[in-house]
Symmetry: C2
Subunit: 150 residues, 2 copies
Amino acid sequence: MNRENAPAPNEFVMPETLTREAIAEALLPVCQILLRNEARYPWVVLVPRRAQVSEPFDLLPGDQVQLWTEIHEVGQLLKAVTGAKKINFALFGNMLPQLHVHLVARFEGDARWPGGVVGVEQRQPYPSSDIPGWWTDLTARLALKDLTSP
Amino acid sequence: MNRENAPAPNEFVMPETLTREAIAEALLPVCQILLRNEARYPWVVLVPRRAQVSEPFDLLPGDQVQLWTEIHEVGQLLKAVTGAKKINFALFGNMLPQLHVHLVARFEGDARWPGGVVGVEQRQPYPSSDIPGWWTDLTARLALKDLTSP
């Protein structure tokens, strides 16, 4: 890597593992939100743009509050735009140290209902990498909100 | 059920499914914390004592903040007392509507590392239902803290 282009030690760098498995993204005040390329479940990943943080309790206090604000807001909208029965939230990070949060919209009778889907099986990519309609709705509705903590 | 003993519609009732799978419990300001009877991983479940809430974003705003305060505090202590490599946090609730949060201490080389363990497999109970030392440490350290939100 060219020394001049290398990120500073405390600079956030989006892990390539996450972008490789995504087909769209959007920006929130603290998190980058990725559309995971998994056709069986509406699935987004929130990644706080903070370097060298792997546990939510390692974030600065203000970032912790903002992270949960964004998680709740995205979770609520994801449920609304997909009509899901339940949102599954998971912060695992066993394979990838950078803190990231999975939000998965679950439906009775989906491929693994009522079991867990995070860290369990191989992805099934969207057949044509077309962006699903729910993502367009979700990001449009997010753009209308002021997500900054009061 | 005797009508006089039936809980009021808005009264929290700990789901019997959760207590049946636990061998100890403690009280936090909003959550009841259960020691899950699963010998392979140090595992606790936080249950907000709020009736008819299944998604974290359905809690009242003050309860949301307190829930995450308790999750972070317990997660940090669970990591400290077990020496785990990573805490896994999961809010699924596909099988049980009452909001509950799994916190699992994970170690490189544990039974399913680096895969997910929540909602995936049958429990393996502690052989003798002895209370593990880490739980005693965890609850002793929790008791010394003021977990009320500032």
